[in-house]
């Protein structure tokens, strides 16, 4: 009797919670702000563009949430006007007259005009010092002068012809407010104050190394962003970040979803995977200043010995494309039409024999002097894919008689080994690292990284020196785009033969997210999905939406038919979602050998209720206290119901049974 009474009580309680739950969910409807919690995988400082640490993968796109460029984006041959409305070159491509958008405001309310643009170029070139952005203004192209023609027109003059100005620096350099930076003496000094830009978001809070908070810029010139608040905690541990995604504490994780986790995220009805191209590459770089590695035949033989398809299959579970011998990412507009990799150990063996590296009595090839082909390969100890790739490289090359020792180190130690000392070349033999889109999209990336040391960063990056290659790159610098394309292709062919570096694979960009919180993720090639376009209306930039911008949302499983970001309905659409707790309670109730029909149905009823407020909480606004109150109420009611059903009722039943036995 008592048992039944308690079960009924539990039923009533859970029905009460069912009634409350929609109430909590209903709160979402009244135009509540869209809040997206993004788990950053590394701290990004305060987006001061003069101190971009270690070229962290998402820094540029994060920076561009707060700042804007003249054009967007550098990853396309014909970028669309952004802060600029257009730019016209002189006949020699040295002078560019840029016209600017009217009515743009800085986050602090000041008006943006031509003097800000002129100031930005001057400041980066003259005061900025070396850095991620600056070298595109003082290195190549070399900035000469800027003249303000009128409020919305500025004339920029460079020392060399820059036919690709709209891409670089036009599509890359963040435009800074003169009224803030003009008085800053050391632009590298400040890493904590809040940035002021023109971008779609205003940074309102920065807790160094811990979290960021960005609010939508209501006056954004391309319309108010589709997300009102971005809360971005730094979650450095990968497992913790993806756990946070599963629990709903995070709605998006900037870290690439590791291959083994993809099926788990796809199975979860509350999560989805979005893919997009960040134009990343994982490459093997040779120090061409070292003995043996100086010889192109040795490098090419190593390249021919590498089965890059096997490497991408093993390391990334096939979620990536094998590397091309032509280096440049296949999605980049500068990629060679016929990339591809030649894997031919037979030819490689012949090349090594011809170069005089023969098997003696051991397993390692040696030259006539008895020097073995033995090298140390440095990989980032904090990046498992690099370690795995390194081990596969070592394995594949050992068959060929080349001895590779893989040494995982922390990144600064690798950097130190890569940097030439005042007395000589860097000590590193070879290393594996990852390149981001910017490096592949840059029209002059081959020039920067592989031109003979002297100009550009090539000297400290690769040290590769080849006069024939240099000549092609030099003439490509000032060539009009059509001509430049064919010259770059020519350079890539030389590159493929000389193999100063080998791309092992191009990883796919894929990220896990919660569609219930925000479903507007769009893949912008070269930027992935964590980029400003994901937060703007699709036609925000006017009539010039490039075809290349795909709607990535079409790729998701359950929400595929609903491309509109709709936070209010998402939770209601998936009442079947079973949170772990209700599964557990079902099992528990089975164990409690509840034979009466009432008990399981009690837990069944509480199920959708339990899932709905849960999702609502993850989808909705954190600030609305009243809503928090009602959903908490519902949760408490559910908890009470479950508690009664699971703990008290079985206990009472047991007591009754025991009492019964005594009576018997």
């Amino acid at each position: 009797m008592l048992r039944h009474r308690i079960t009924i009580l539990a039923l009533i309680l859970s029905m009460f919670s069912v009634a409350l739950a929609p109430l909590a969910a209903a709160h979402q409807d009244d135009g509540d702000p869209v809040v997206v919690r993004v788990g950053l995988h590394a701290a990004e400082k305060n987006l001061n563009p003069f101190i971009v640490p270690q070229a962290l993968p998402i820094t540029h796109d994060f920076t561009m949430l707060v700042y804007d460029t003249l054009f967007w984006s550098q990853s396309r041959l014909d970028p669309e006007p952004w802060l600029a409305t257009g730019a016209d070159p002189s006949d020699d491509f040295r002078t560019w007259t840029v016209t600017l958008r009217d009515g743009v405001l800085w986050h602090d309310g000041e008006r943006f005009d031509a003097s800000d643009v002129a100031f930005t170029f001057r400041y980066f070139a003259e005061d900025g010092g070396p850095g991620r952005y600056g070298h595109h203004v003082y290195d190549h192209p070399v900035f000469e002068s800027a003249t303000v023609v009128d409020d919305l027109t500025v004339e920029l003059v460079f020392e060399d012809p820059v036919p690709t100005f709209k891409l670089l620096p036009g599509g890359d350099l963040p435009i800074l407010p003169e009224h803030i930076w003009a008085s800053v003496e050391n632009p590298r000094a400040d890493a904590t104050s809040l940035p002021v830009g023109t971008g779609p978001f205003t940074m309102v809070e920065y807790n160094p190394g811990v979290s960021y908070r960005l609010e939508a810029n209501p006056d954004y010139f391309l319309g108010r962003p589709t997300v009102d608040t971005l809360i971005m905690p730094v979650v450095t541990d990968a497992q913790a970040a993806f756990a946070g995604l599963q629990t709903g504490e995070l709605d998006f994780v900037t870290r690439n979803l590791p291959a083994p986790l993809v099926p788990r995220v796809e199975e979860n009805p509350e999560l989805a995977v979005v893919t997009g191209s960040r134009m990343q590459s994982l490459y093997l770089m040779f120090n061409t200043r070292k003995p043996h590695l100086r010889d192109p035949a040795v490098r090419k033989a190593m390249s021919l010995s590498l089965d890059v398809q096997a490497i991408v299959d093993i390391v990334e579970g096939g979620l990536g494309r094998p590397g091309n011998d032509t280096w440049t990412h296949p999605d980049s507009p500068w990629a060679h039409q016929h990339g591809g990799h030649v894997f031919d150990p037979g030819v490689a063996a012949t090349m090594l024999n011809d170069a005089g590296y023969l098997f003696g009595d051991g397993d390692v090839r040696r030259n006539a002097d008895g020097d073995p082909l033995a090298f140390t390969l440095l990989v980032n100890a904090a990046a498992p894919p690099q370690i795995r790739a390194g081990e596969l490289v070592a394995e594949q090359l050992s068959v060929m008689g080349i001895d590779i020792t893989v040494e995982p180190l922390d990144p600064p130690a690798i950097t130190a080994a890569r940097r030439p000392s005042p007395d000589g070349p860097p000590t590193v033999d070879m290393f594996i690292a990852v390149f981001e889109s910017h490096a592949h999209a840059d029209p002059d990336h081959l020039f920067f990284f592989f031109h003979t040391p002297g100009r550009g960063v090539g000297g400290i990056f690769s040290g590769y020196a080849n006069p024939e290659f240099d000549a092609v790159l030099d003439s490509a610098l000032g060539a009009p785009i059509d001509e430049k394309l064919s010259l770059i292709a020519q350079a890539q062919e030389i590159f493929a033969e000389a193999a100063p570096a080998v791309v092992l694979y191009y990883p796919d960009g894929r990220w896990g997210y919660r569609p219930g919180a925000y479903d507007g993720w769009i893949s912008d090639p070269g930027h992935g999905v964590f980029t400003k376009r994901s937060f703007l209306e699709p036609d925000a930039a006017g009539s010039t939406v490039p075809e290349a911008v795909e709607d990535a949302a079409a790729e998701q499983a359950p929400e595929a038919d609903d491309p509109e970001p709709d936070t209010a309905e998402a939770p209601a659409e998936q009442p079947e979602a079973e949170p772990a707790s209700s599964e557990a309670s079902e099992e528990a109730s089975d164990e409690a050998d509840g034979e009466s029909a009432a008990e399981p149905s009690a837990t069944d009823d509480s199920e959708p209720a339990a899932s709905t407020p849960d999702q609502a909480a993850s989808a909705g606004a954190p600030e609305a206290a009243d809503e928090g109150g009602s959903s908490t109420g519902a949760l408490i009611a559910i908890a009470a119901g479950v508690f009664v059903a699971l703990v008290i009722a079985p206990a009472a039943a047991r007591r009754r049974r025991r009492a019964g036995t005594v009576e018997d």
């Binding site: 919690r37 788990g39 701290a43 400082k45 101190i51 971009v52 640490p53 270690q54 070229a55 010092g129 070396p130 850095g131 991620r132 290195d139 590298r188 000094a189 400040d190 890493a191 904590t192 160094p208 190394g209 811990v210 979290s211 908070r213 809360i231 971005m232 905690p233 730094v234 979650v235 450095t236 541990d237 497992q239 913790a240 970040a241 756990a243 946070g244 599963q246 629990t247 504490e249 995070l250 922390d410 990144p411 600064p412 130690a413 950097t415 130190a416 080994a417 005042p422 490096a439 990284f449 960063v457 000297g459 400290i460 990056f461 949170p579 772990a580 557990a584 849960d614 954190p622 600030e623």
Partner: protein, 336 residues
């Protein structure tokens, strides 16, 4: 009674006090040197962080002017003298990563570390002593063996593994506890803030407790075992004292080695916190040190290491001072 005791205590201080002070001063000085040298011995330097090779070359003049801001220009000995001079004035320098005064950076993280490590030390000591005494009281019993096996197994698990396991169970499956951070990134206030902050403390603190539990347990257990074989216990039993009374006597004496281990555990846990803090993105000194190592942020590393050494030294000193209070035999030996 109390007068006699404090008199004896003072006597001990006068005879041993000076030597003690000199000893500790030497240790602090050695710590300063090591803390200064260690970060610099690792390959790489702050310039590798400030201007990665992909971003441009840095010539010697530029390099020196960049380092000047952090007082890292000049030779090692010059740097060391200026470090000591600044330290004497309470100036810890400027962080390479943050561009902020190191004191500010450290102050922001210190209290989270104190909260986390303090909780873990307290819980692991209390739990370790309770379990250790229980196990040692009936050595070889089933309870002893199972406790020993359980605690040692727990102790053998690496902290990051325990952390991830907790994360999987209590966050992902049960959804009881938040996954990251010390405070919610959302603006909570009042009671909600306290509850949220406490929830975020649970998993890192439990993980860290497991790190510290093993050594306290083992020492407490063996101390109890060895006390129980002492004559006074035999005597007490012969007098017919109750188990409870016997246990109390033995426990008091067994606390002597335990107190040392517990205090030294403080410094162990501060170190272990680095791993735990990075698993749970807890903004304490450990994760600060981890980030600082990756940026070769010498000023921050020096400050964090200095703080950790001072904590370790203070823990040692307290153990030294506590010993005679807990153990009259040491007191007598000291005043001799």
């Amino acid at each position: 009674m109390t007068g006699a005791l404090s008199g004896r205590f003072e006597g001990m201080l006068s005879s041993r006090g000076l030597r003690l002070v000199a000893q500790y001063a030497a240790v602090v000085l050695a710590a300063l040197v090591v803390n200064f040298a260690l970060p610099r011995l690792a390959p790489g330097d702050p310039i590798d962080y400030l201007v990665p090779p992909e971003q441009g070359s840095v010539d010697e003049a530029m390099r020196q002017s960049m380092l000047e801001r952090f007082d890292l220009d000049g030779s090692a000995s010059q740097q060391f003298t200026s470090y000591l001079a600044n330290l004497a004035q309470g100036d810890l320098g400027i962080s390479v990563r943050d561009g902020r005064p190191v004191s500010e950076v450290v102050a922001q993280r210190l209290w989270w570390s104190v909260l986390l490590v303090g909780t873990a030390v307290a819980v692991s000591t209390i739990l370790g002593v309770a379990l250790g005494f229980t196990a040692g009281w009936r050595r070889g019993s089933r309870r002893d063996v199972s406790l020993l096996a359980a605690v040692l197994a727990l102790d053998a698990l690496p902290a990051f593994f325990v952390g991830l396991l907790l994360l999987l169970v209590f966050s992902v499956h049960l959804e009881w506890l938040p996954v990251y951070g010390a405070v919610s990134p959302e603006a909570l206030t009042g009671w909600a803030w306290i509850v949220d902050t406490a929830k975020r403390l649970v998993m890192p603190a439990v993980t860290l407790t497991f790190v510290g539990l093993g050594s306290v347990f083992v020492v407490a257990r063996s101390a109890m075992v060895s006390e129980l074989s002492e004559d006074y216990v035999f005597m007490a039993r012969a007098k017919g004292l109750s188990d409870r009374r016997v246990r109390r006597h033995a426990a008091r004496n067994a606390m002597v080695p335990v107190s040392t281990v517990a205090l030294l555990g403080f410094s162990t846990l501060v170190g272990a916190a680095t791993v735990v803090e990075s698993v749970f993105s807890y903004p304490g000194l450990g994760s600060l040190a981890f980030d600082a190592v990756r940026a070769r942020d010498y000023p921050v590393l020096q400050a964090v290491f200095l703080l950790l050494s001072l904590i370790a030294i203070a823990a040692n000193l307290s153990a030294d001072l506590l010993y005679p209070i807990l153990d009259p035999r040491v007191r007598r030996a000291g005043s001799r």
